[in-house]
């Protein structure tokens, strides 16, 4: 009997394992942004909640969008595993699918964090336009990680009220697991490119 030779991409299997480990739990956030204890944004491509006074105010559509993102990573992990067990040219597409999903989702999360950081300036201008005697004394937002501050002053008839809201942003262990998954997927894709080179005709 003539068995076809089995070409295995071990890096692809590791990447698939990391993707499964990442998607095993949908709820843990990758990034947290809190404003005092009153509001908190828990964000991951798999689930996003915006807790205000203990209640989630996130629009329902976000739940379905993130469900789709979660399922696509699970499918990506499965295709990564299948592609890593073959040396055929089409296996590269399977591995690429897993890589593209985690790359897009991680990139989107970082982009959203940067967008919130960049939107801080216009937000301060918007608060000033609100009027009602509200004055923004200080607004510092962290870029993905760190501490910031929103300090407002509200003029009253016989005095003033100053409100100081601490803003804290942090990346969780899941984010670093996602980065490790992305690195493994990238390495797997590069290796798969060599593994699945079309054999030259003699």
């Amino acid at each position: 009997m003539n068995f076809p030779s089995l070409k295995v991409n071990p890096m692809g299997l590791v990447a698939a394992g990391l993707l499964v480990a990442l998607a095993a739990e949908r709820d843990p956030p990758w990034w947290r942004l809190s404003a005092g204890g009153l509001a908190a944004l828990n964000l991951s491509p798999f689930k996003a909640t915006l807790l205000v006074a203990g209640g989630d105010v996130m629009p329902p559509i976000v739940e379905w969008l993130t469900l789709g993102a979660w399922l696509s990573v699970l499918v990506g992990a499965a295709l990564m595993a299948v592609g890593s067990l073959s040396g055929r040219p089409w296996s590269k597409s399977l591995v690429s699918f897993g890589l593209s999903k985690i790359a897009w989702e991680l990139g989107a999360l970082v982009a959203l964090g940067a967008l919130i950081f960049l939107a801080a300036g216009p937000s301060a201008a918007f608060l000033r336009q609100l009027g009602h005697g509200v004055e923004v004394l200080e607004l510092r937002t962290p870029l993905l990680v760190g501490e910031g501050l929103l300090k407002l002053r509200v003029a009253q008839q016989v005095g003033e009220v100053t409100v100081t809201i601490p803003i804290i942003a942090s990346l969780t262990d899941r984010f670093y697991l996602a980065v490790a998954s992305l690195a493994a997927c990238s390495a797997a894709r590069a290796y798969q490119g060599r593994l699945a080179k079309p054999s030259r005709a003699p």
Binding site: G37, V52, G54, G55, P60, Q156, T162, V163
Partner: protein, 176 residues
């Protein structure tokens, strides 16, 4: 996505709008009320320039959050016509936590400066001879100004500065 829309009655508005109902209910503005409970004399030695009292206020918290009163101080000014001198100040004795929908008592230590005691002794103190001894009556209207209240709610610090109004201050002490 379509299934999710169907679950929301095929209403795109309900599907993409933030669910603010519960949050708006919780975050409705509510007024924290302060009420006068009492003013008791702790030490009165006008000759020695000492006049100390304890002011107790009630504070009610109608919010669903624990209110932490971290500081409360104000200056006392004489509110008599043509006076206006600063007499002393009052400061909160310790941090007070007011539970949600609850109330607590704030105790402020009020002490007059030697200059304030001197002003009170010369302008607002009268003496009456009675059977048991001499009754000393301290009576003046005080303006509570330069007030600063520091409160924190869920990690958010709120500082209020302003005037608290005027209140009559009256002590009667009988000495043999």
């Amino acid at each position: 996505m379509v299934y999710g829309l169907q679950l929301h009655g095929m209403s795109p508005h309900a599907y993409i709008s933030p669910r603010l109902e519960g949050a708006l209910e919780v975050l409705q503005p509510r007024v924290v009320e302060l009420g006068f409970q009492g003013l008791s004399l702790v030490e009165a030695d006008l000759g020695g320039g000492v006049l100390k009292a304890e002011l107790t206020l009630s504070i009610s918290n109608p919010t669903p959050f624990t209110l932490r009163v971290e500081g409360f101080r104000f200056s006392l000014f004489c509110a008599s016509q043509g006076h206006g001198q600063q007499l002393g100040e009052a400061t909160l004795k310790g941090v007070v936590e007011v539970p949600p929908q609850g109330s607590r008592t704030l105790t402020l230590t009020t002490s007059l400066t030697p200059e304030g005691v001197s002003h009170v002794a010369s302008h607002h103190t009268s003496y009456r001879v009675e059977e048991g001894g001499v009754r000393m009556i301290i009576d003046f209207p005080a303006r509570l100004g330069d007030a600063c209240v520091k409160v924190s709610v869920e990690g958010i610090a709120v500082e209020l500065r302003g005037e608290l109004g005027t209140m009559p201050i009256r002590f009667e002490v009988t000495r043999p």
